[in-house]
């Protein structure tokens, strides 16, 4: 015999049919035993006597008399003993003839198979519904985010509008204070008047910086922080900053030094105002958080890239503070000095560095100082005549005060 056929025969016949336990049973139309033969005990049908009522034990016959076909085959019927049987049922004139064939092993194998398949299907369905659930949550979240963005946009618009409206009266206030001071200086020696005027001056300066920061912040949010590049003498920018900060550090035990690499071109094409704004912010911070020691500004230039480092020996900050440093409206260390708007400075500086084709980063260690580094794209220019930008000022107007207290 062919080996494969033999295997098949051995497997199927041995597993399912060798143990057929065929049992024959005849009952009358009212389910009373007429005759039987075979291992009835296997099906829970043992100890039979002629005339026994099997109505309870053969419930599958219920309703079959309605059927018009003479034979019915029922597979995998559970019998009173719990064994499974394939049943061949004949509807005879005198009643019912039944042949039971053992299907217990077959049912067990099939059961195992279906169990596996069905469980797998159910778990796939479960996963699918979890996925749907997750997608639904995500949609809801997205809607919420969109709503918040919308709210944020209208807030930004509102802040921007207010900032614009504040700026003009503030500027004229500042201007008036300056004039009053100039006149007062000439005609009046009274120190208290000067002090009052100085504090008006100081206050309006602070407010203008704040308003300008808010305006920058809303430009950034709207993606409208545009650069205005022109031709600039770097030296002039640095001198202007030195002029601003020199008197401030002069009152304390701080040295402010500039290290400009010899390779830095004299004239560069960039937005000098914005560059000055970054440096002003960084040096301002260094001054603010350094009580004694040094502040060193280093400048290098290579491959059209102008790099700065502003290092101080100040209070420094821990990792947690460092991580939150670039969030708008967050303050650096020393919350006692916290002022709204000042917290925007670093965030705006970094955005400006990005907009100028560069990057800005800050490293710091508590009690050891802070180092801010950034670079911007700045190709060299031979002379200023190549194009002078209309908005470029002649003098140092970035900061309108010589009072150190704005840094505190």
């Amino acid at each position: 015999m062919n080996y494969a056929i033999k295997t098949l025969r051995d497997y199927v016949v041995q597993r399912y049919f060798n143990d057929a336990k065929t049992f024959y049973l005849l009952v009358d139309t009212r389910y009373r035993v007429i005759a039987w033969e075979g291992p009835g005990d296997h099906y829970g049908l043992d100890g039979l006597n002629s005339g026994d009522d099997l109505g309870e034990k053969l419930p599958f016959l219920t309703g079959l008399d309605q059927d018009t076909q003479p034979f019915t085959r029922l597979e995998f019927v559970e019998t009173p003993s719990g064994a499974a049987a394939h049943l061949q049922i004949a509807y005879l004139k005198s009643g019912w003839g039944m042949v039971f064939m053992n299907a217990t092993q077959e049912r067990e194998d099939l059961q195992r198979h279906h169990q596996k398949v069905n469980e797998r299907t159910l778990s796939c369905l479960k996963q699918e519904s979890l996925l749907h659930e997750a997608q639904r949550s995500q949609r809801i979240l997205q809607e919420r985010v969109d709503e918040l963005k919308q709210t944020n946009r209208s807030c930004t618009g509102f802040v921007e509008q207010i900032a614009h409206e504040l700026r003009t009266p503030l500027m004229s206030l500042l201007d008036s204070a300056k004039q009053a001071r100039a006149i007062g200086l000439a005609v009046c020696e009274q120190e208290s008047l000067h002090q009052h005027l100085r504090s008006v001056d100081r206050g309006s300066n602070y407010l203008i910086t704040l308003v300008d920061n808010l305006l920058d912040q809303s430009r950034i949010e709207k993606g409208q922080l545009y650069m205005n590049p022109g031709v600039w003498h770097l030296q002039e920018i640095l001198e202007c900053l030195d002029e601003i900060f020199r008197p401030v550090v002069g009152t304390r035990e701080i040295s402010l030094s500039w290290w400009v690499d010899a390779g830095v071109p004299e004239i560069l094409h960039m937005d000098g105002m914005r560059l000055r704004q970054i440096l002003f912010n960084l040096i301002g911070n260094a001054v603010k958080y350094t009580i004694e020691g040094s502040i060193t500004v280093g400048v290098e230039w290579k491959d059209n890239r102008l790099s700065f480092s502003v290092a101080d020996t100040g209070v420094g900050m821990d990792k947690a503070t460092l991580e939150k440093l670039f969030q708008p409206f967050r303050q650096g260390p020393g919350n006692g000095n916290a002022r709204l708007g000042a917290g925007l400075g670093l965030f705006i500086s970094r955005e400006i560095a990005h907009a100028m084709g560069g990057a800005l980063e800050i490293s710091s260690r508590l009690s050891q100082g802070t180092q801010a580094s950034f670079h911007v794209e700045a190709p060299p220019r031979l002379s200023r005549t190549e194009g002078r930008t209309a908005g470029q000022p002649d003098s140092c107007i970035l900061i309108r005060d010589d009072d150190e207290s704005i840094f505190f």
Binding site: P59, F60, D67, E119
Partner: protein, 171 residues
Amino acid sequence: MTMLARKICMIGDFAVGKTSLIARYAHNQFSEKYQASIGVKIDTKELRLASGDAVKLVLWDIAGTDELNSVGQNYLKGAAGYILVVDGTRLATFGTAISLQKEVERRLGPTPFTLILNKLDLSNQWALNADAVQALQARGWQLTHCSAKKGNGVEQAFQLLGERMVIGVRP
């Protein structure tokens, strides 16, 4: 005199709770563990009708599939009624029940049936929309919300079908 006996088949997709509904109804039991059914298992339960008469329900728990093959069809022979079972947390089982109903009716002719929306206890995962359910009710289908796990609705559903089957059978 022997009691009137009526055969009822449980029809529906796999794992909708056919076996569990019978276990709850006939034995007041429930198991969380899923055990795939093979072939058929028959239980009986005596039902007292509103008229006061008793009827023996012969409950056929038929292994669930989404269609009836020729072997499956034999299980239906002589059924006086059937229960379509839907798993309320699986929308697809609703469609299966509707298509199975057509097949069963083609096989048996017009026969009393009722539909069980099972797993009511899992209402937070409920997948059936009310419109689909109402559309069936509009077609005259009897629907019962049940939980084989908690037991609610089960007795009523069988009672409902029992009454329907016997009407017209007895004077």
